[in-house]
Amino acid sequence: MAKSNEPIAWSLFSAGGMIAALFLPISMVITGFVVAQGFAPADALSYDRVHAAVSGSFVVKLVLFAVIALPFFHWAHRFKFTLVDLGLRKISLLLAIACYGSAVAATAITAVVLWRI
């Protein structure tokens, strides 16, 4: 059997899908509605509070890194196969490079952004 990167891609897809399922709905409710509509306490997402929480803690940065970076691999996997299923089978290698490449780039950007805080 030929060597394949499929197990790595599938593990990242799976981890990202689980993180997205667990964390994103509540996060979207909070950023999109609770805070945006002013239902949250005034300093809940204030600069001082969030900056203090993130800048001083490697653990908080690591959690944010996982929550943001892994779902990009979930997207890369699904989006690539969706485009193939919708008729782009001939350029499937190009799609794989574009999708997984974007996920790798997003991961690097996430690391740098968190590092700078």
Binding site: R49, F72, W75
Partner: protein, 130 residues
């Protein structure tokens, strides 16, 4: 060369389950889009108080609210289909008995509830955390 039957590219519009399959796969676009938004918030946080305040103001705009609403529906569809599929992926046995699907999916939904409550508690309480 190929004996594969030609499938028209509109195959997914022909049956409801096919259509729902494509919707489920495309929820990943909302997932990635929202993570890009979180990344933008953190970038603004690193830029300083003014940039962060501008990002938070943008978050309260009608465009942001509309995008959040559409995104939330798609991400909820992802969450429900993901947890409902867990019994097919995770097969456990206690002795000879297979752990019922409803327990495996149920454990994930319970975990979702706990994680959501915890995230809300962390993000919405006041004062300096930790």
């Amino acid at each position: 060369m190929s004996y594969m039957r030609k499938v028209p590219n509109t195959w997914w519009l022909q049956r409801r389950p096919y259509f729902l399959f494509i919707v489920r796969e495309l929820t990943s676009v909302a997932v990635a889009g929202y993570c890009a938004f979180l990344l933008y918030l953190l970038y603004a946080l690193g830029e300083g108080p003014e940039a962060y305040a501008a990002a938070i103001r943008m978050m309260a705009s009608p465009t942001s609210t509309a995008l959040h609403a559409v995104g939330l529906l798609l991400v909820l569809y992802h969450t429900i289909t993901w947890f409902s599929a867990t019994p097919k992926v995770l097969v456990f046995h206690i002795g000879e008995e297979r752990v019922p699907a409803v327990l495996i999916a149920g454990a994930h939904y319970a975990g979702w509830l706990i994680v959501s409550a915890f995230v809300a508690w962390i993000l919405l309480t006041t004062g300096t955390p930790g």
